[in-house]
Amino acid sequence: MSSPVKRSVVITSLVVLLGTWVFWWGTDGFTALTAETARRVEILRSPRPLPAVTLEDQDGNIFNLQDYQGKLLAVDFIFTRCTTLCRSMGMIFKQIRDLIPPESLGRDFQLLSISFDPDHDDPVSLKKYGQTYGADGKIWRIARVPDKAELKSLLEAFGIVVIPDEFGGYEHNTALHLVGRDGKLRLISDIDKAVPFAEQVVALL
């Protein structure tokens, strides 16, 4: 490299190439600028296995997440004291359930709302939440994970981040999750995409 100008041009180009590659790599090909998008892109590419956790539903029944294997399962995360998004989540889940052919409900498709606040959400409040949105407690169950360590690993696997807000409640990333028949998380979509979500489910039935 003879002249300083030439050297400057060559090195600048190398830096630009390298920098662009880092951005490409760090944003999954310029598609995911936020961690939330990244989580969704990654799930679509490779469905993620979920940990074995024990849950307790609104009637106090103890069951395992793995019990749902062989069926499609829609999952959302809530806490019952929530006054904002979780309320619309309830309505959205109801909307999804009503869009699925009745003969498939229970047999091939179920819904599960999981509370990440086991300290406050006992079966009584879970039941109350379910009744508000017409959850029957069988096809659509409301449950909590009593064991803190299990809850943590479950939230991690789903990519849910829960942080306390200044009003004693929580802020968390809200989305619709679909677990496949193999028990792997295979789709995450926006909560305002209830209809496309239901269509996806119907296509898989």
């Binding site: 990519g159 981040v161 942080i163």
Partner: protein
């Protein structure tokens, strides 16, 4: 800059090292990273400033030879631009909180890939180059702040949406103040830089 004395440089270096380690302690990290504003607008700039101050302690002839070997000011500005932009991605912020590797990368890259190259490049930049860096940085800050204020979604899973909005406002206010300060330096005649970007590597004094 000529070193006034090696004694001074050693003390300064020691101080910077202590500050750096202090920032890296779990207590300081937890506190700084608990809010988006502190994370983006205090901790990260402090890391860059540490890089800047530390790089200025390096011997002048050494700085010159690095610059001369690596093609002058422009590649260094570009490196700083890429590295600083990367850490403005919401995803990178989240990663720094949830992934220890990303956190380490942040602590290393901000001083080394933003502070250090800026120091090296700065001495060769004329007012045009410096003005380009300043206006580019200020407008990026303002636009990013605006995006954070009006974003319809929570861009970071680890931060409250209120926090995102106040971080946005701090950025916009910071951008306005920085711009006024920069204009102010033009009024009193500072910040001009060398008259011509010198190519022979002798280097003029740092502004």
């Amino acid at each position: 800059m000529k070193l006034t004395s090696s004694h001074y440089a050693a003390r300064m270096g020691f101080g910077l090292g202590v500050l750096y380690l202090l920032l890296a302690t779990p207590v300081a990290r937890d506190w700084m990273e608990a809010s988006m504003s502190r994370h983006m607008l205090v901790q990260m700039p402090l890391l860059v400033v540490i890089g800047i101050l530390a790089s200025r302690l390096l011997p002048t002839h050494w700085q010159n030879s690095v610059l001369a070997h690596l093609g002058g000011a422009i590649p260094f500005v570009v490196v700083a631009l890429f590295a600083s932009t990367y850490w403005m991605l919401p995803r990178a912020l989240d990663a720094a909180l949830n992934d220890p590797v990303a956190e380490v990368a942040k602590f290393i890259s901000l001083p080394l890939l933003v502070g250090f190259p800026l120091v090296l490049a700065w001495r060769r930049l004329t007012l045009i180059g410096r003005g380009f860096v300043w206006t580019n940085f200020i407008s990026m800050l303002a636009v990013l702040g605006w995006l954070y204020i009006v974003a319809p979604v929570r861009v970071c899973n680890s931060y409250l949406v209120n926090d995102q909005e106040s971080a946005g406002w701090y950025m916009v206010i910071g951008a306005v103040l920085l711009f006024l300060w920069w204009l102010g330096t033009l009024f009193v005649g500072g910040g001009v830089g060398p008259d011509k970007p010198d190519r022979n590597g002798t280097g003029t004094s740092l502004a």
